[in-house]
């Protein structure tokens, strides 16, 4: 079965640089969530999109922005990178909770290292 695809899998950036992470949800899933997981931490919710509109916002820095496109893929844009942004970034997708079970399926993640 098709899974969530994330690219790139690994990314190394320097401080103050910009990074773009991409997420391709499971086919027919219309909702995308972004989570950040620091070393030894649990995943923290950043932002979500339903039908290309932002549906919820968590602890996402103002330096980060995201959007969902007409084909339902999503991109997380990160600017003015800081050392503390080094983490695993996961994308998850689901059917809109009112239509499905609300189960979120996670991608393999993008490991971002800021030097």
């Amino acid at each position: 079965a098709a899974g969530v695809i994330q690219s790139p899998r690994h990314l190394i950036k320097e401080k103050r640089e910009t990074a773009t992470l991409k997420c391709y949800p499971i086919p027919r899933h219309d909702t995308v969530y972004w989570y950040q997981q620091g070393p030894g931490q649990d995943p923290q919710f950043l932002i979500s999109f339903y039908e290309k509109m932002q549906s919820d916002k968590g602890s996402i820095p103002d330096r980060f922005s995201a959007q969902q496109f007409s084909d339902y893929h999503s991109e997380l844009n990160m600017s003015s990178l800081e050392l503390g942004d080094s983490a695993l970034y996961f994308c998850a997708s689901s059917l809109e909770a009112g239509q499905g079970s609300g189960e979120q399926y996670f991608g393999p993640g993008t490991r971002l290292t800021v030097t």
Binding site: S55, F90, F106, R111
Partner: protein, 113 residues
């Protein structure tokens, strides 16, 4: 604010030694409680969803149960390949489409052969 607390933080078992992991939660209206398995450096792998107190679900050596305050993940006769971090997460009833997950810090399970 939704809160999830998992215990123990770490658990070492011998192969075949059954045990349980605990997840206690506080949420303003539970829509669903989710269990995930996570291997190092990988994305969480969905295991179970529980929606109401008294519900139980099973998959191979794993069984998840739910009460109004907590959930248990029972592991029967574990094998070394069951070694992983097990994450519990809650999804609150909030209306609309914003069903974010709030995770606990996980239980790191190690099963020795």
């Amino acid at each position: 604010e939704d809160q999830v607390t998992q215990s123990p933080e770490a658990l070492r078992l011998q192969e075949g030694e059954s045990s349980s992991l605990n997840c206690s939660y506080t949420v303003s209206g539970l829509r669903g409680l989710f269990w995930y398995r996570q291997d190092p450096g990988k994305g969480p792998e969905f295991l179970f969803t529980l929606y109401s107190a008294g519900e139980e679900k099973e998959k191979e050596r794993l069984k998840a149960t739910l009460t109004k305050k907590e959930s248990f993940l029972h592991i029967t006769a574990p094998k070394p390949e069951d070694s992983a971090t097990y994450l519990c997460a809650v999804q609150a009833e909030s209306g609309g489409s914003n069903y974010k997950l709030t995770f606990g810090k996980g239980t790191l399970l190690t099963v020795n052969p």
